[in-house]
Amino acid sequence: MAADIKFTEEHEWLRVEDDLIVVGITEHAAEQLGDVVFIELPEEGTTVSKDDEVVVIESVKAASDILAPLDGEIVEVNDPLTEDPGKVGEDPMGDAWFFKMKIEDLSALDDFMSEADYKDFIS
């Protein structure tokens, strides 16, 4: 399972699901953010470029932007999360995913960190 999940330096996780990638933030990022009180997700069907600000996430402390990890199209967003933003703190790697995107070539994921590399990165 660990092999199927990749991590960015922006503390996002990317998991391949069919021909899409599911994107969320890591436990480490969720911990740093503290209690999340607001999430704004992109519209389904939006075409995004790598590093576009696609998600706004606000904790009691501050606002942060989540960037698109790659060029692609947002095909599905986790709408229920906007009603229950606190879930990001409870299950950041599972139920609290942000969006699913379609990218041209799944092999682009090879450039990101493995779980072991990410653990080194944050330590």
């Binding site: 503290g34 209690d35 009180v37 607001f38 704004e40 606000e58 009691v60 606002a63 906007t82």
Partner: protein
């Protein structure tokens, strides 16, 4: 040597914070706890339900005394604050501000009458300037002493009285804004029934060497948790209390800042000691005629928090910015985003609907009364 110039100071409770697992951040030149493992949200809610212990030792504690007696001392301070200091009874505390010649606000502070002296608590970021201002402005008979060997703790919340009374039983007799000195085991405790959270509670000045032991004793009590600066900010925001350097500063007058209540009648036009403070011309005129703009409460209509610097507009289309949010965030007790900011007085009445521009979008926001969470002072 440049490291020394930028080195952060530590309060007497630094080791306490670290031992409690605080996340430490630089604040006003000090290394301060922004939150503990509980997190900002739970720390906030705990303070409103139980009792929260805050380290506010970074704030300036200043004693003013005079060789000419209390009346001369009070009148001297009145020359730089637009407050009735002479009428402040022994054992009582009052909110005040230092004004400048243009009617702006140099700092806000608490003033206590100790019986023969005046004890001031000023903001951490302003304390050096405040002390210089006091020294430069007050007559020679006044001695200005920075109290650097005492810690300042705040214990806030509905269970603060019960908790503190285990250490100092006398506190149950104090009312809101009472300020007393109590000697316990040859140590002087300077305690006022006040704070900056909207809750009942106490500010406690104790000798620095005593502070870690007292902090440990307090948090060993079931109802007490240590609370960081993050929750201190959300608590004071919900209480509608302004934060110096954000909601008020040298560009805002007390009337604009909506803290004219701090200027008692005796210092206003027609009062026995009318004016006689920096910026009196403008401030007295604004007290009479109103100011062009005013600090108000703002309730964003959606779920998006609106933070400091968010511009305000009269409509969803208009190009002319009419005001700005000066403090804002999510209110954990209000359970919605809350904010305050400045608006032209004609648009400042409660219920007025406006728009804030957030990430390129115009979102509705309504002028609303403060506080956003009812205060529970013990009057």
């Amino acid at each position: 040597m440049s490291d020394q110039a930028t080195a952060l100071m530590r309060t007497p409770l630094y080791e306490f914070h670290v031992a409690q697992g605080a996340k430490m951040v630089p604040f006003a030149g000090y290394e301060m706890p922004v939150h503990y493992p509980l997190g900002v949200m739970k720390e906030h809610l705990h303070t409103r339900a139980g009792a929260g212990l805050f380290d506010v030792s970074h704030m300036g504690q200043v004693m003013l005394s005079s060789s000419d007696g209390f009346e001369a001392l009070a009148l001297a301070l009145e020359s730089i604050v637009p407050v009735d200091v002479l009428g402040l009874a022994p054992g009582r505390q009052r909110y005040g501000i230092f004004t400048d010649e243009t009617g702006g606000i140099l700092d806000d502070l608490m003033i206590s009458n100790t019986g023969d002296a005046l004890f001031l608590v000023v903001n951490a970021a302003c304390k050096m300037d405040d002390i210089a201002h006091l020294n430069a402005s007050l007559p020679d008979h006044v001695t200005v002493t920075e109290i650097a060997d005492r810690a300042l703790l705040a214990l806030q919340g509905p269970m603060a009285e019960m908790a503190l009374a285990r250490l100092v039983p006398q506190v149950i007799d104090l009312k809101f804004m009472d300020s007393v000195r109590i000697t316990i085991d040859a140590m002087e405790w300077w305690i006022s029934r006040s704070g900056y959270t909207g809750e009942d509670g106490f500010e406690i000045s104790i000798p620095a060497e005593l502070a870690p032991e007292i902090a440990d004793k307090l948090i060993a009590m079931e109802e007490v948790e240590p609370i960081g600066l993050g929750a201190r900010d959300s608590l004071r925001l919900e209480a509608g209390l302004c934060l110096y350097g954000h909601d008020i500063d040298t560009t805002t007058s007390p009337v604009e800042g909506n803290i004219a209540w701090a200027i008692q009648k005796v210092r206003r036009s027609g009062g026995a000691r009318e004016g006689g403070f920096p910026g009196a011309d403008r401030i007295l005129s604004e007290l009479h005629n109103g100011a062009e703009r005013k600090r108000v409460g703002l309730l964003p209509q959606g779920r998006a928090p609106m933070r400091e610097g968010t511009p305000l507009f009269a409509t969803s289309e208009s190009d002319d910015q009419i005001g700005e949010i000066t403090s804002g965030g999510f209110g954990p007790s209000a359970q919605c985003p809350v904010a305050m900011g400045y608006l032209p007085t004609e648009l400042a009445s409660n219920g007025t609907e406006l728009f804030a521009e957030l990430r390129g979008k115009r979102l509705p926001v309504t002028v609303a009364p403060m506080p956003f969470h009812a205060t529970s002072y013990k009057r």
